[in-house]
């Protein structure tokens, strides 16, 4: 059950992040929109974007699966183990989002993935 939840969290997080990154790159939010008075307008604008709504759906799956995981495992296990998505998402960011992933960034992502694996032990 524990590992099923981890798989569900990682899978839905990867899909949610790719959708969010894709859509937010197309229509990024300006710093001025983060002011408290502008938040409502920003939220209404975000709610009209299909990929973001789909991303929220996947994040909701991830959220409830994470709640279940927290009831089954330690915080110091649950949080790091779900970061297994870092390596997978870096590869997909290069292939799907066409980001320029330099050698230094690959090294950093690999180091983070190793660290996450060690934390999950």
């Amino acid at each position: 059950m524990k590992w099923l939840m981890v798989g569900l969290i990682v899978g839905s997080t990867v899909l949610a992040d790719l959708l969010q990154s894709f859509e937010m790159k197309r229509h990024s939010v300006a710093a001025e929109d983060l002011r408290p008075g502008q938040l409502g307008r920003m939220l209404r604008r975000l709610a009209r974007r299909g990929p973001l709504v789909l991303a929220l759906f996947f994040m909701a799956i991830s959220f409830f699966a994470f709640m279940k995981l927290l009831s089954l495992a330690d915080l110091s296990f649950a949080v790091p183990v779900t970061a297994a998505s870092v390596a997978l998402e870096t590869v997909l960011a290069r292939l799907v989002l066409r980001e320029k992933v330099t050698a230094l960034r690959w090294a950093g992502a690999f180091s983070v993935a190793c660290g996450v694996a060690l934390l999950a032990m």
Partner: protein, 152 residues
């Protein structure tokens, strides 16, 4: 003379300082994303550990649990995290945001040890070291490689 002075008084935009300002905003938002994530996870975990609720597959148990104080606080913080992270993803690459915000995993492990007395083995501390090194590497790369910084 006055017109010449007025022209001379107009500050000439310095591209380097503009870049630094943008970088500062990105870093500030990154710090906010990490803080809301760590505190949100902590509040959620605290709430879950102090509720004697057996979570099955029924959605009603989850919904009831969301409205308990600590889980509600955690949920509110995680909503803030979601919105700020979404904004950050518009300003920086996914392959930049993911590793840099991974410091949250380390901080969560530390909070788990300090507040919940969870056992943090040497493997976990070594893992923490790897994550920190990875964050430093990725932090040295450009935040956005796919398009120009948006006007803010």
């Amino acid at each position: 003379m006055a017109a010449g002075q007025a022209v001379a008084d107009v500050p000439i935009p310095n591209p380097q300082s503009a870049t630094r300002r943008v970088d500062f905003k990105t870093r500030l938002l990154t710090a906010f994303v990490v803080t809301t994530n760590v505190l949100g996870n902590f509040a959620m975990s605290w709430g879950m550990k102090h509720q004697a609720v057996n979570l099955g597959l029924s959605p009603f148990a989850y919904i009831r649990l969301i409205f308990t104080p600590w889980v509600l606080l955690g949920t509110a913080l995680l909503i803030l995290w979601l919105l700020s992270r979404m904004t950050l993803l518009g300003w920086a690459d996914l392959s930049y945001v993911l590793p840099v915000t991974s410091i949250g995993y380390v901080l969560s492990a530390v909070l788990g040890k300090v507040f919940f007395g969870e056992q943090v083995t040497w493997q976990r501390w070594l893992g923490t070291g790897f994550i920190v090194v990875g964050i430093i590497f990725v932090g040295l790369t450009a935040a956005n490689t796919t398009k120009q910084e948006p006007a803010r």
